[in-house]
């Protein structure tokens, strides 16, 4: 499904090589090193001169989803991407990013970080999907800036987890900005560490973070999810984990930090196992134990 869509990608990178950039009217798409050279103002968003990655600057309304693909194809490749996505005022954008190892045993490293800037009144629906091999190492660190009245609907899914996975996401919300973030990881034979921080910086900002984690065979999963309210604002955390294997574990740490007496922030967290009642019900519908488990897990990960 992913490979079929590659030819439509606005930015396609395989290992270190940029294979294709498909420009769209009203949008500037460059490599990040190219943007660093061409636009001095981008330098405030990059911590240092980027080695690789994409720069996408949306200046006009685009009525179809933009799409990026980053692949690991060869063995022992280490990617270090710095990405920058900027959406100008009042635009309403759909965006999809796919990062994937094409084979299971590539021993690749994918380090990716970046900033996503939503200017005043803009909105972004962003789907970010990862598929990795069992021996890869992945470090992902993204920071979102939601200016006044902007709106983010973000879904991050790791559907096939690497050997080691670290995901850090920071959401900075200014006045009346709103954010719905869903972080989903299906982990098997992996060590996964998730950190996210929703910072409600200005009045009437509102955000909701939902986390769904599944610890399959031989997995250690930890999530530290935080909301920090610095102004009159609203936020909610919903963290749920499902442990499938005796040798696996999940640790969930929700944290609320309130610095304004008018702020309202809440959380809920739970970790459970697959319900025997649900499993037996599906088996009595003709599904094998494995098929029934997969169906329940997929349902759990559907947000």
């Amino acid at each position: 499904m992913v490979m079929k869509s590659v030819k439509n990608a606005n930015y396609l990178q395989i290992d270190h090589k940029v294979k294709n950039i498909f420009q769209v009217e009203g949008v500037t798409i460059l490599t990040s090193p190219g943007a660093w050279e061409k636009y001095n103002w981008t330098r405030k968003y990059f911590s240092k001169k980027p080695k690789e990655g994409y720069f996408i600057w949306l200046k006009k309304q685009v009525n179809f989803p933009l799409f990026t693909c980053v692949f690991l194809c060869d063995k022992n490749i280490t990617q270090n991407l710095q990405n920058l996505l900027i959406i100008e005022k009042n635009l309403n954008i759909k965006f999809q990013g796919i990062c994937q190892a094409v084979n299971k045993n590539l021993l690749g490293v994918h380090n990716a970080g970046g900033k996503i800037i939503l200017k005043e009144g803009s909105s972004l629906k962003y789907g970010h999907f990862h598929f990795w091999g069992e021996k890869d190492i992945v470090n992902s660190c993204y920071e979102f800036f939601l200016e006044k009245n902007s709106k983010l609907d973000y879904v991050y899914k790791t559907l096939s987890a690497p050997k080691k996975l670290k995901i850090k996401t920071i959401f900075n919300l200014f006045a009346r900005a709103s954010c719905k973030a869903k972080i989903v990881a299906n982990c098997k034979r992996t060590e996964t560490e998730i950190k996210d921080n929703l910072i409600l910086k200005e009045k009437e900002a509102s955000g909701q973070v939902q986390i769904r984690l599944v610890a399959g065979k031989a997995s250690k999963v930890s999530a530290h999810s935080k909301i920090e309210a610095r102004a009159e604002s609203k936020g909610h955390l919903d963290c749920q984990g499902l442990v499938l294997d005796e040798g696996s574990k999940i640790s969930l740490v929700p944290e609320l930090l309130c610095k304004n007496k008018k702020a309202q922030i809440t959380h809920e967290a739970s970790i459970g196992r697959i319900s025997e009642e649900e499993l037996n019900y599906l088996r009595m519908r003709g599904l094998s134990e494995k098929e029934a488990t997969n169906l329940i897990v997929n349902g759990f990960l559907t947000l």
């Binding site: 319900s275 025997e276 009642e277 649900e278 037996n280 019900y281 599906l282 088996r283 009595m284 519908r285 003709g286 599904l287 094998s288 134990e289 098929e291 169906l295 329940i296 997929n298 349902g299 759990f300 990960l301 559907t302 947000l303």
Partner: protein, 243 residues
């Protein structure tokens, strides 16, 4: 003997160390409709679940046969493949799984075609999570759609008539008659009130009390009359139970 679709011999069943079913014997022939009546907690639902092989319950003695093949230790999914199924009295919700997804996994028929021609009320449920926030009536429809999707040889309906008003009850009974009984599917109707029996006319009515089948009667009206008049209390005093 050969005509028995389901045969249960001297079955004893335990759950949490407690004996729930005591020496159950039951035979259902091909194309036959039978009823199983009994008070709350008599073991009717457990019998339905154990026939389908719910691993929650443990058979300590006795055997179950389906089409002459012993299935006492067979996994539930393999029993379903042989052609048996159960409409649950109280089905759990499967969050995040739409009914249409489940139907597509378990059935060879198109889910939309299935409900369109046969159970139109099921159409509104297809895009909803299985049993999540379903009303009592919706749960019954969902169960009917699912058992129909499996194209079974034997269906056990566990309290399909409970909590339904007369109009809905008649509707459900009509679906059971048209889609199962008229198509020669064997049916076991587990019911506490017996309300549905007037629509479906079972050939044999069994009465279960305290984990035993104490009565097997051809005239279901006679059984209903006795229960209506005396309640199941009279059955509990039946000498067959003490024997």
């Amino acid at each position: 003997m050969k005509k028995d679709l389901l045969r249960i011999e001297n079955l004893k069943v335990q759950a949490n160390g407690k004996e729930i079913l005591k020496r159950i014997n039951l035979q259902i022939k091909k194309r036959e409709v039978q009823a199983l009546l009994g008070p709350n907690g008599s073991g009717k639902t457990v019998l339905g679940q154990i026939i389908l092989g719910n691993p929650k319950y443990k058979v300590t003695q006795g055997k179950i046969f389906f089409e002459g093949k012993e299935i006492t230790k067979l996994a539930p999914e393999k029993r379903v493949k042989l052609g048996m199924t159960l409409a649950f009295q109280s089905a759990p919700a499967i969050k995040g799984v739409k009914l249409i997804q489940l139907l597509e996994k378990i059935s060879q028929f198109s889910a939309k075609e299935l409900v369109k021609g046969k159970i139109p009320d099921g159409r509104n449920l297809l895009e909803r999570d299985v049993n999540l926030d379903f009303s009592g009536g919706e749960k019954k429809i969902s169960e009917l759609v699912q058992v129909l999707a499996l194209n079974p040889k034997l269906v056990i309906f566990d309290e399909i008539d409970s909590g339904l008003d007369l109009k809905r009850l008649e509707k459900v009974a009509k679906i059971i008659k048209k889609e199962f009984i008229d198509k020669k599917t064997s049916v076991l109707l587990i019911t506490h009130s017996g309300a549905i029996l007037n629509f479906l006319n079972p050939k044999i009515t069994n009465v279960m009390v305290l984990g035993k089948i104490i009565c097997r009667e051809k005239d279901y009206k006679k059984v209903l009359r006795v229960i209506k008049k005396y309640g199941y209390e009279k059955c509990k005093k039946c000498k067959l139970l003490t024997n």
